[in-house]
């Protein structure tokens, strides 16, 4: 479903993504992990056609990322980390606008929107009367997730999707992505919340400084490394082991 070969992105002298290669079949939930600045968001932006790669190739649902960018965009849904929306539109106006961009007929779009409203426990009057600028962060995130799934894409990229969601909504969201994967959709899930990734994902990719460090099933990787948890394995790989000692030093020496 997703095939990435030697994908590279440079910003001037800086190499943000350095020749990563992986394949993801249909129906798999893949955790995409890495510390801040590792190149996760840049990779996701390239795979969604937002950024042009410097070199390398990628195909999504058989469509070449660089030659058939519009086809790729039709087949993917993306929840960006920023959760940006047009704040002066109402939720319904925003979702109808997104539906129009995917050429979804109005009646079908309205029916799908209502399904998501019911799933996320949003009230229709909120969606029609309130401008998105007045929504809470969690409500806004629900609208962004709805907008990513509205056209029923076979591949969905989530960049920190739980940011702002309350505990109940987060549980519901995790159930949703597992259901989507069972229906054959490919999910790429980028997050810093490692225990959620460990529980939800079939496979994890760990990148740091633009390079792919590990690729495998979470339980296998944890067992083979002897780290005990995915979190320990992650910090060991990405240089986070010093953090506990530094935190102790900080607490000891910090004076207001």
């Amino acid at each position: 479903m997703i095939s990435v070969q030697q994908l590279t992105k440079r910003f001037g002298e800086q190499v943000a993504v350095d020749g990563i290669t992986f394949e993801i079949p249909a129906g798999q939930i893949v955790g995409f992990l890495g510390p801040n600045g590792a190149g996760k968001s840049t990779t996701l932006k390239m795979l969604t056609g937002m950024l042009a790669p410097t070199s390398g190739t990628a195909t999504i649902c058989g469509h070449d990322l660089q030659r058939e960018t519009l086809e790729v965009k039709r087949h993917v849904g993306f929840v960006p980390e920023s959760g940006a929306v047009f704040e002066s539109l109402t939720g319904l106006e925003y979702l109808e606008m997104v539906a129009a961009l995917y050429a979804i007929p109005e009646a079908a779009a309205r029916a799908r929107i209502e399904q998501f409203i019911a799933f996320f426990d949003l009230s229709f009057s909120t969606l029609t009367d309130k401008l998105l600028g007045a929504y809470s962060k969690g409500m806004r995130r629900k609208v962004v997730i709805t907008s990513a799934l509205l056209h029923n894409p076979p591949v969905v990229f989530f960049d920190e999707p739980l940011d702002g969601l309350d505990a109940n909504a987060a549980v519901g969201f995790k159930a949703l992505i597992q259901t989507l994967a069972r229906e054959g959709k490919t999910i790429v899930y980028s997050s810093h919340i490692l225990d959620v990734v460990e529980r939800v994902c079939d496979r994890v990719l760990i990148i740091d400084k633009g390079r792919l460090l590990l690729d495998g099933k979470p339980e296998t990787l944890v067992a083979e490394s002897g780290a005990g948890t995915l979190e320990r394995l992650f910090t060991r790989l990405t240089g986070g082991t010093e953090l506990e000692r530094r935190a102790e030093d900080f607490a000891r020496t910090f004076r207001p």
């Binding site: 800086q14 969604t48 519009l70 920023s82 106006e93 539906a99 009646a107 401008l131 007045a134």
Partner: protein, 545 residues
């Protein structure tokens, strides 16, 4: 935004985008608004008032009712180019390259060309509203002109549409050429320069050049009485089209009309077709994030830090809140694309207007205005911080301004004071030196330089004025509230105030009462300034509702 197409069919992406950008323009892009029926209508309602004011201002064209069609058209097209150009120059950066929009739209199946078309349509639509309001009375004047007829409104409507297309496409093309020539790395810095040049260009084309032509030639009203290079100016082409359609201008009018139509078509084709791929480059640039800081930026940070810690500024900025505000405003004036695109193109026309008033005088044997141009320059200097501070209240990061409300500061006075100090250092003082140099070089004497003083003396009051009532707090409002469509009218208001002050100064200069006038002005300014400072110090934070 509610679709009016049949439920079974989909709204076309192009139409959805046009509707989206118009809605965003009318409502503003971000809001703390509450409900739909209470949503921010400020931009839309202000736009309506602005159009009404443009309509009233357009009535001035009725004074030309006895002039030939070509002269009326030159006036109307010159002013239309000025107003539309200033609106487009001020709005295009925000509309064409919005950073947040990249995360929302770039992963959707729409081409950058479709985005560009939709945005250009909105720029064009609003430009036509402005042009329509301003030209309404002019159409009546053209119809009633000695050589006018019933065809004039139709001809002028057509030429005005063409002029707006030319103006909007020209701005887009300028951005595309920058992207093509300099690449994405330099886009942000160069965009500001392009926008400043566009703003200055529209003022020059609309105001400065007709003055240089000379009244004798202009007043003849005949299309054949102008020098050849007059044909290079866009308002002339479109006035030629008016003349050609109403059957007055002959071969020269037809030639000008053909030039206007051909160049408009060429610019539109280049902007929307041939060069549109460079817009995609610009859009992708917005999606790029890099932790690499260019060496030039590091240098500017160190430079700013050194400046703030220099002995003079350390003393001037000894209050920590003032110093914080100074650094914040100075940083944004130097680094922030959104602020730079608003402030510098907004101020650029101010630099051109005094020169426009001085140039015709500079090559005359006798100056009938007796130093009016110099006094006008001085009055303009006073207006610069007023304009700059008004523009600095807008930012895309306006919500970050809450940090000041959360801090234990009783009101915005100290914050505004720091902003005033930054504007004084980075804008007012450099421009004062610029204006003084301009006066000296254009008048070839320093004897009239004292006429700059009335404007300088009024400067502290003009600087405080935007902050009255807790307004114009730096970076406290969304960028879209900047009412960019009103910029042309604001400029007109500034000209009126400057003219009034300058007239009084020139009159007292001629009568030999100038020193007394200055003393009187100092006394009045001192009283007003003290009262304003006291009032501002007591002003609490404005409500966030």
């Amino acid at each position: 935004m509610t679709a009016d197409a049949s439920p079974a069919t989909a709204v076309s992406p192009d139409r959805a985008l046009r509707r989206l950008f118009l809605t965003l323009f009318l409502r503003g892009r971000s809001s703390r608004g509450l409900r739909r029926n209470n949503m921010p209508r400020s931009v839309a309602s202000k736009l309506l008032l602005t159009l009404l004011a443009y309509g009233c201002f357009g009535c001035f064209a009725l004074a030309f009712v006895q002039r030939p069609v070509f002269e009326i058209s030159i006036y109307l097209h010159g002013m239309t180019l000025l107003f539309c150009g200033m609106f487009i120059a001020a709005s295009s950066g925000e509309i064409l390259f919005n950073k947040e929009e990249a995360d929302i739209l770039l992963h959707r199946p729409v081409t950058p060309q479709a985005l560009l078309r939709a945005k250009l349509t909105i720029l064009l639509q609003v430009s036509l509203w402005i042009a329509g309001a301003f030209n309404l009375a002019g159409m009546v004047a053209g119809t009633l002109a000695p050589n006018g007829n019933a065809l004039y409104p139709l001809a002028h409507a057509l030429s005005t549409v063409l002029e707006a297309v030319f103006c909007a496409s020209g701005v887009v093309l300028a951005y595309e050429l920058v992207l093509r020539s300099f690449g994405r790395e330099k886009l942000e810095g160069i965009m500001t320069t392009v926008q400043v040049l566009v703003a200055v260009g529209t003022v020059v084309a609309g105001q400065l050049v007709p003055r240089v032509i000379g009244r004798a030639t202009f007043r003849s009203g005949s299309i054949n009485a102008h020098p050849w290079w007059f044909d290079l100016l866009p308002p002339t082409w479109f006035a030629g089209l008016d003349d050609a359609i109403t059957g007055n201008g002959g071969v020269r009018a037809a030639t000008l009309a053909v030039i206007g139509i051909a160049l408009t078509a060429l610019v539109a084709w280049l902007a929307l077709g041939r060069m549109a791929r460079h817009y995609e480059t610009g859009m992708q640039l917005l999606g790029e994030t890099t932790s690499n800081v260019p060496a030039s930026q590091l240098t500017s940070r160190r430079w700013l830090d050194s400046l703030v810690h220099s002995p003079l500024l350390s003393w001037w900025l000894r209050n920590p809140v003032r110093r914080t505000a100074f650094v914040l405003v100075a940083s944004y004036l130097v680094r922030d694309r959104d602020v730079k695109l608003r402030v510098y193109p907004g101020l650029a026309p101010l630099l051109v207007m005094p020169i426009a008033f001085m140039m015709p005088m500079s090559h005359r044997a006798a100056d009938p205005f007796g130093g009016f141009g110099v006094a006008f320059c001085g009055a303009y200097m006073g207006m610069i911080p007023l304009f700059a501070l008004s523009l600095l209240q807008y930012s895309q990061q306006w919500q970050a301004g809450d940090v000041f409300r959360a801090a234990p500061i009783p009101g915005p006075a100290l914050l505004c004071a720091g902003a005033r100090q930054a504007v004084t250092c980075f804008i007012t003082i450099p421009l004062m030196l610029f204006f003084t140099a301009v006066v000296y070089f254009l008048r070839h004497t320093s004897s009239e330089l004292p006429l700059l003083l009335p404007g300088l003396i009024a400067l502290p009051v003009f600087t405080l004025a935007p902050h009255l009532g807790g307004k114009a707090i730096p970076f406290s409002k969304a960028g879209e509230e900047a009412r960019s469509a009103r910029r042309g009218l604001d400029l007109f208001g500034v000209i009126l105030v400057s003219i009034s002050l300058s007239l009084v100064a020139t009159w007292t200069w001629a009568m030999g009462w100038f020193p007394w006038f200055l003393l009187g002005e100092i006394a009045v300014v001192a009283v007003i300034y003290t009262l304003m400072r006291v009032f501002l110090a007591r002003t609490p934070w404005p409500s966030m509702e």
